[in-house]
């Protein structure tokens, strides 16, 4: 109030002049430093300009003191010119800063692009899972165990746009025995192949790779499936993880059909001992593996509707023991599965069956080995899902003939980390002492 009052008195103008003064003071406060405006108003309102300049000077100086001598018009004009220069200089600096920011942005964009290009050559990933089993067998024996079931490191390298390497090194059950250590696991190469793009849809690979059969054999990172332990059908009938050495081609059609064909090392099934004619025991570790009888695998997979997967595999080996005259000869595996994912709901069904020729294996009851499972899962939230699964397995050993129910849940604290809890109840077809029930807890991850 004081300032306004003082200003009014100082101007001592008539009412009309005062209104005009105040209006143009505001205008000039915004434009006073532009010479054009100044000249225009000086011509039109010669008296007002001087008054306004004075008012502006007074309001900006804050009336430091009544005793301060009033600046002359020339002095004010000098101040204004000085401020004009400063503004021009600031504008130039602002433009320069804008240019620098732009250049920095360009450089950052380029750096981001370069980083992405250089990162893409070699990649490292992995997955793993720790299991706690608390089970009771039919004869009353407990089975309680903590096991670092898998620790897998993934390596990929792109030689060029059409040639790449894929490798996986797996440590099972915590490590391998050395110098009397209690480690009870394996160290093995799970994948090591070079893949070539032949054209836009056809690729070929050679090396150590996973047999294209079933759901779990190629996709088994823990966050991708329900249940602590993998389902028993894809353990006993399809011996996942089923690693083989050889060559394969794969063609991807635009309608969502994928066709795979592979020629690779076959199984070498034992014919004697406690694991005689057991499919899983026939896996070779691509370590001086017998190649007397190579195997062939063909698969057709359809994923042309989002959420749906239909697939079928035929696998053939002319002699599953790779030794003639031992009573176990040509073997054929047929496998089919379906996956239906709609919103939070997932359903899976898989059937697999071996048909093996030979008198000895027929006598042992191992010429037909098959199994299936049905699974339903429902995600209650983005991070939490429940499931139930029914498994029926008919293998060759007494303990490999059973049905099993699993129920439980997965909790994903992060999309690549999962905590699993399930309850399992296995009923053996032959001997109730081989029944098994209890719960499992696991934690798994992928990166």
């Amino acid at each position: 109030m004081g300032k306004t009052h003082t200003t009014h008195n100082y101007l001592n103008a008539n009412d009309n002049d005062l209104h005009l003064d105040l209006f143009y003071v505001q205008f000039l406060s915004l434009n006073i430093l532009t010479g054009l405006t100044r000249r225009r108003f000086k011509m039109k309102y010669p008296n007002l300009l001087s008054k306004s300049l004075l008012l502006s000077a007074l309001t900006t100086s804050g009336f430091a003191s009544a005793a301060t001598p009033t600046p002359t018009l020339e002095e004010l004009w000098t101040v204004i010119q000085s401020q004009q220069k400063q503004i021009a200089s600031l504008k130039a600096k602002a433009a320069e800063t804008e240019e620098k920011v732009e250049a920095t942005g360009e450089a950052l964009e380029q750096q981001a692009a370069n980083n992405q290009a250089s990162h893409s050559k070699t990649t490292i990933g992995g997955y793993g899972e720790l299991h706690y089993n608390n089970l009771e067998e039919g004869d009353g024996d407990d089975f309680k165990e903590i096991d670092l079931h898998r620790f897998v490191l993934f390596f990929g390298h792109e030689f060029n746009e059409r040639t790449r390497f894929v490798g996986e090194l797996e440590v099972e059950h915590g490590g391998v025995e050395a110098d009397g250590s209690p480690l009870d696991g394996e160290l093995e190469v799970e994948q090591a192949y070079v893949e070539l793009d032949i054209n836009d849809t056809l690729s070929a690979k050679g090396g150590v790779f996973l047999v294209p059969a079933g759901i779990m054999n190629e996709t088994h990172e823990p966050p991708t499936f329900y249940g602590v332990e993998r389902n028993p059908v894809e353990n006993i009938i399809i011996p996942a993880t089923w690693v083989t050495g050889g060559a394969a081609i794969s063609n991807q059609f635009a309608n969502g059909i994928q066709a795979d064909f592979a020629v690779h090392s076959g199984l070498q099934m034992p014919t004697t001992g406690s694991s005689a004619f057991r499919i899983r025991s026939g896996r070779q570790k691509i370590s001086n593996a017998s190649a007397n009888d190579l195997a062939m695998t063909a698969r057709l997979k359809y994923t042309g509707v989002p959420g749906l997967e239909l697939a079928g595999t035929v696998h053939y080996q002319s002699d599953i023991t790779q030794t003639s005259g031992d009573g176990a000869d040509a073997a054929t595996l047929l496998e089919a599965h379906a996956i239906w994912n709609r919103g939070p709901f997932t359903a899976k069904a898989l059937f697999a069956s071996w048909d093996i020729d030979g008198s000895a294996i027929a006598a042992a009851g191992g010429d037909k080995q098959d199994g299936y499972y049905l699974e339903g899962g429902y995600k209650l939230t983005k991070d939490f899902g429940i499931f139930a699964r029914y498994n029926e397995v008919d293998g060759v050993r007494v303990q490999d003939e059973f049905d099993q129910i699993d129920i439980g849940f997965n909790w994903w604290p992060h999309e690549d980390v999962v905590v699993k809890v399930d309850y399992m109840d296995r009923e053996n077809d032959n001997n109730s002492d081989r029944d098994l029930d209890g719960f499992n807890v696991g934690i798994g991850y992928q990166f």
């Binding site: 032949i198 690729s203 989002p306």
Partner: protein, 173 residues
């Protein structure tokens, strides 16, 4: 069997050719605006934009600013995200705050090839973004392509969010 194996090995030695580039990004932008694309604009990913982008992607955005093209209520974006090991380059057109088109331009992953086809990307058409930065309709995944599907969903969410930060964002009457 010997003959089959021999033929198979011969097939592997055939002259190979590169794959993975299904449309050049520049061509996508050209088509998006019917051959009359506006000049590219840039959006700085700083402050809240950086925070939200990080939440959507699950990691810091790779660039401090992103180029986009806009006209009327439409914007077009070229975005990249790694699926399992390789970047997937995706072109996204947004019209009135909803997805008009999603197209995978470059796909170099060895798994999850299905996501580059129309039968998968059509799911995104007319989808929008909730306040929670989630898509307002579910997207059905593909078994064995989890990481590629996830990458595309993130990019679509990011594009919708960034569109809302531009002058081309649609305000419903």
């Amino acid at each position: 069997m010997r003959l089959l194996t021999f033929l198979f090995i011969c097939l592997l030695t055939m002259t190979a050719q590169a794959r993975g580039v299904y449309q050049q990004p520049a061509d996508f932008i050209h088509d998006a605006f019917s051959g009359n694309a506006p000049a590219a604009k840039r959006l700085w990913i700083t402050g809240d934009r950086k925070k939200v982008s990080r939440e959507i992607l699950g990691h810091p955005p790779s660039s401090l600013r992103l180029r986009y093209w806009g006209k009327g209520k439409r914007t077009a974006w070229i975005l990249e995200e790694i699926g399992k090991e390789k970047p997937i380059t995706v072109g996204i057109i947004i019209n009135k705050n909803r997805i008009e088109k999603v197209k995978v331009l470059i796909f170099l992953e060895s798994r999850g090839w299905e996501v580059r086809h129309d039968f998968f990307t059509k799911q995104f058409e007319n989808i929008g973004l909730l306040v929670s930065q989630q898509l307002d309709k579910p997207i059905d995944g593909i078994s064995g392509a989890t990481l590629s599907v996830r990458a595309l969903k993130k990019l679509v969410r990011l594009a919708l969010y960034l569109h809302s930060q531009t002058d081309f964002s649609h305000v419903a009457p």
